[in-house]
């Protein structure tokens, strides 16, 4: 598979709205990026503001090649993301990408597992897969605003919340063994808190189901140059999330 050319896209903001407490959804016009983007890949967004320097890495949450639009979600965590909430329709936003390697999108029935902001890149995956179901987890019903995006893209949704306000009460991975035991999934794709991904991978391994994980790390460039997003592979190699990932086979990174 030839690597797509990395490029800096000067995009136009179409919409930038708050979708939940502290979580925003931004849609930009970026025809070339929309063409090239694959689920699991990410972009580096340049938020301009006093004192801000580096770009912000965000997973691509959707790409419509026909409309020429790309979607991203972000949680307001610091100065950069707070500043990003101020971008309005018509504003220009510099976006570098697509970067990294994405999920396996070949045929098969996929179970997507995700929690928190991890549900952004897997939303794009759900939209590109022929057959998939989703296991979505959150602390409470309010955090699961994601269901409206997953419902049209999946054949079934399985939901857990820590407080039982929606779906099954308990941790997301608690219902995973039961789901996998049905034998109907060819593989699993997970993105969420690291502990959730590790647990998901372990359960998949026990049941012999291949599992892809999407990792997140602080990074400066996203191009393999700054070497800040290092992780160790299970066979002792130094890998870099931006170039070798962000999507890895579970066994590459979790022992």
């Amino acid at each position: 598979m030839p690597e797509t050319k990395k490029e800096n896209h000067i995009t136009e903001v179409i919409e930038n709205v708050k979708v939940s407490e502290g979580v925003w959804h931004i849609t930009v016009k970026a025809p070339k990026l929309a063409q090239a983007a694959k689920p699991g890949q990410f972009v580096q967004v340049l938020v301009e503001g006093a004192g801000l320097l580096l770009r912000r890495p965000l997973g691509i949450a959707g790409a419509d090649a026909e409309q020429g639009t790309v979607e991203l979600f972000y949680r307001v965590l610091g100065k950069g993301t707070a500043k990003l909430t101020g971008y309005r329709a018509g504003d220009s936003l510099s976006i570098l990408g697509p970067l990294g390697h994405g999920f396996d999108t070949s045929a098969g029935n996929v179970l997507i597992v995700g929690g928190g902001m991890g549900l952004a890149p897997t939303k794009f995956l759900a939209e590109r897969l022929e057959h998939c179901e989703a296991l979505l987890g959150g602390r409470n019903a309010g955090e699961l605003f994601w269901t409206k995006y997953y419902e049209p893209a999946t054949e079934a949704m399985h939901i857990t919340t820590d407080d039982g306000s929606m779906g099954t009460k308990g941790f997301t991975v608690a219902v995973l063994p039961e789901l996998l035991a049905t034998g109907k999934y060819d593989r699993v794709a997970v993105c969420g808190p690291e502990i959730m991904m590790k647990k998901t991978f372990e359960i998949c391994r026990e049941q012999g189901v291949p599992c892809e994980v999407s990792l997140e790390k602080r990074m400066a460039c996203g191009l393999g140059a700054c070497l800040s997003c290092n992780i160790d592979s299970t066979d002792g190699r130094r890998l870099h999330v931006c170039q070798d990932g962000p999507v890895f086979r579970g066994e590459e990174v979790f022992a």
């Binding site: 050319k5 990395k6 490029e7 800096n8 340049l46 004192g51 801000l52 320097l53 580096l54 770009r55 950069g80 570098l96 602080r218 990074m219 400066a220 460039c221 191009l223 393999g224 140059a225 700054c226 070497l227 800040s228 290092n230 130094r238 170039q243």
Partner: protein, 305 residues
């Protein structure tokens, strides 16, 4: 390719199509930026710091953003000189760029050994990193002691025919004294500044942000300090000065040239805009037009003070 002859310079016998070099540790081996930059148009690429043996670098958080800058404590993660020579260097041939290898040693002898290993076709020059603030052994000692730094220069010079550039640390009391010492020891050029040692604290956890506690500060916030040091050093030495520290625009680059740098080195800005070096080259050309200056060399040290 033919390039604007007004920007072409000769530094230590190396022909450079522009006086714009990329800094070690900010540009990989150059190839990572091939989608964004005409690598041949650059004056050179100072490749990621290379050591005798492979290094895994530091554990924990390696970068932190700071106001108009960033801290890093990568810790010289690199595949080692042998892998660089066998795998990386042959791959870089097709780009037709000046490959300047930045080397780091734990002992003075290491620098000699590395210089000899790298005395091969495809390497344009050697840059001695004697000022990495992020490794425990060696590093900073060589960079802050004029006797130790001079010994490193002699060790390298004795084992290579390539030009030897010494990268100066700003974390010293008197950078001019350091520059003069290494010039006398035979350095063909000096590059400055390396990062300024700094730190950041997470007040919620009351812990340092960086895994290594301290790290090197770079980016626009260090530019005035770097510019001052380049100006001081350029006045004091006869060898070429390669100026770096926070250069992000053509205007920044021109300031360094006026202060006496024969060429400029761009670092952190590559992380923000991977094609920034091309924008800087275009901007310098436009400045030559505007100022009716025939050649970029005429700007070097043209500060009227």
């Amino acid at each position: 390719m033919t390039y604007d002859p007004r920007l072409a310079v000769d530094i230590c016998g190396i022909h450079m199509n522009t006086p714009i070099i990329t800094a070690s540790g900010t540009f990989g081996f150059g190839e990572e930026f091939a989608d964004f930059v005409d690598l041949e148009r650059l004056g050179g690429v100072m490749v990621k710091g290379t050591t005798l043996l492979p290094r895994r670098g530091n554990e924990g958080v390696r970068i932190a953003e700071t106001p108009a800058g960033m801290l890093n404590c990568i810790g010289l993660e690199n595949p080692g000189a042998e892998v660089f020579l066998k795998e990386t260097l042959p791959r870089l041939k097709k780009y037709n760029m000046n490959v300047i290898v930045n080397i780091s040693g734990s002992t003075t002898e290491d620098y000699g050994t590395l210089a000899e290993m790298l005395d091969v076709d495809g390497v344009a020059a050697i840059e001695l990193n004697v000022s990495c603030p992020n490794v425990k052994e060696g590093g900073i000692v060589f960079g802050t002691d004029p006797v130790a730094a001079s010994a490193v220069v002699r060790a390298a010079k004795a084992h290579t025919k390539k030009p030897v550039i010494l990268k100066l640390s700003p974390n010293v009391t008197d950078i001019v004294m350091m520059a003069k010492a290494v010039e006398e020891a035979g350095a063909d050029a000096v590059s400055l500044i390396n990062t300024l040692m700094g730190m950041a604290i997470d007040i919620r956890t009351k812990k340092p942000v960086l895994g290594n506690i301290t790290g090197g500060l770079s980016g626009p916030c260090v530019k005035p300090v770097a510019l001052r040091m380049v100006w001081q050093v350029a006045k004091a030495v006869k060898i070429p000065v390669l100026g770096m520290g926070g250069i992000s625009t053509a205007e920044d680059a021109i300031e360094f040239l006026l202060a006496g740098a024969s060429a400029v080195v761009v670092g952190t800005a590559n992380f923000v805009d991977p094609s920034v070096t091309m924008t800087i080259a275009d901007g310098i050309a436009a400045y030559l037009d505007e100022q009716k200056v025939a050649h970029v060399n005429e700007l070097v040290g043209a500060l009227q003070a």
